[in-house]
Symmetry: C2
Subunit: 182 residues, 2 copies
């Protein structure tokens, strides 16, 4: 069965700093037409960073999209031209947000909101963390507070609804599946 | 520490069928200003449906945002005015996409792309599946193929990159964390 939706026409509705919004007219597999509202995004990286005493680094920050505080693993968008350089991007975000560097291992890559958006996150595990001397500072418009929490504290925060971010839940579940081997 | 970003001005850039796109001017905690590109979405439901012989129902479909085939658990957007009626929405999507109904248990709720979007997914477990007589048919513009796969087959598809959808990975890891108790 051929599922492809061929693009008949694309209208670009908004070209911003972090996203492009488009509306496509598509030909469906049965020959009918429909429209698709789409958000294009450069993609992002996220880092599950484990401290030497087995704590998980969690960033507390305000998220305007939900107008609420969120607790998440360190993460950041790819910059322009940075496709394919996700490891460097992940090390940068880790350093900027936590002042640590570490050894990275790719755990997963996934689309966050595949129904309308092509944002893909590469999720890394960072171990053997070392403090960076004179770390790059975080972005001017980011206000963060760092927490170092046990796995159980994080699981409790998922349960209570304080952790409500998909990539952070994926990362915590990954740890849970490793048992005590991390 | 007060992290709130106060909205100084909101420009609505696009009001579509499934999303509203806005650009906010915000006052940062230090008094400086910045802008935020935001996507507002009604939210969605997803269903981890387990058949009587312990298979996971996976939907194969084309996703225009990534111009590729995707393998995902059944899911769908909330309709207008359906906030707060997520169980009914999840049963509808399950019936439309799989012709089954079942008993639902809420597993997680999470924001999919919290950096710029307020889409929240409620993820349910559906057990005791029963075929629906004369099920509601799927949306006109959805072309789906259903698979019933073992947990290990799904894990292999995550490994190979065929499953690359965040909500589906959350669902599979949930099952992994239950051991053989599902």
């Amino acid at each position: 069965m051929d599922f492809e939706e061929k693009t008949l026409k694309r209208d670009i509705l908004f070209e911003g700093q972090i996203m492009t919004v488009a509306k496509d007219q598509v030909a469906l597999p049965d020959g009918k037409t429909s429209s698709r509202e789409l958000v294009f995004h450069r993609g992002a990286v996220a880092v599950l960073a484990i401290t030497p005493d087995n704590k998980i680094i969690i960033v507390k920050q305000y998220r305007k999209a939900i107008e609420d505080i969120s607790y998440e693993i360190p993460a950041g968008k790819l910059e322009e031209g940075e496709a394919g350089q996700e490891v460097a991007a992940a090390l940068r975000e880790l350093e900027e947000e936590t002042s640590y560097t570490g050894q990275l291992e790719l755990l997963y890559e996934f689309y966050t909101a595949i129904g309308f958006c092509n944002e893909k996150i590469k999720l890394y595990l960072a171990k053997n963390l070392q403090p960076v001397e004179n770390p790059r500072s975080q972005d001017d418009d980011e206000f963060l507070e760092l927490l170092e929490l046990s796995y159980q504290e994080c699981v409790d925060m998922v349960q209570s609804g304080q952790i409500k971010d998909a990539k952070t839940i994926v990362a915590l579940q990954y740890l849970g599946l490793q048992g005590n081997k991390w």
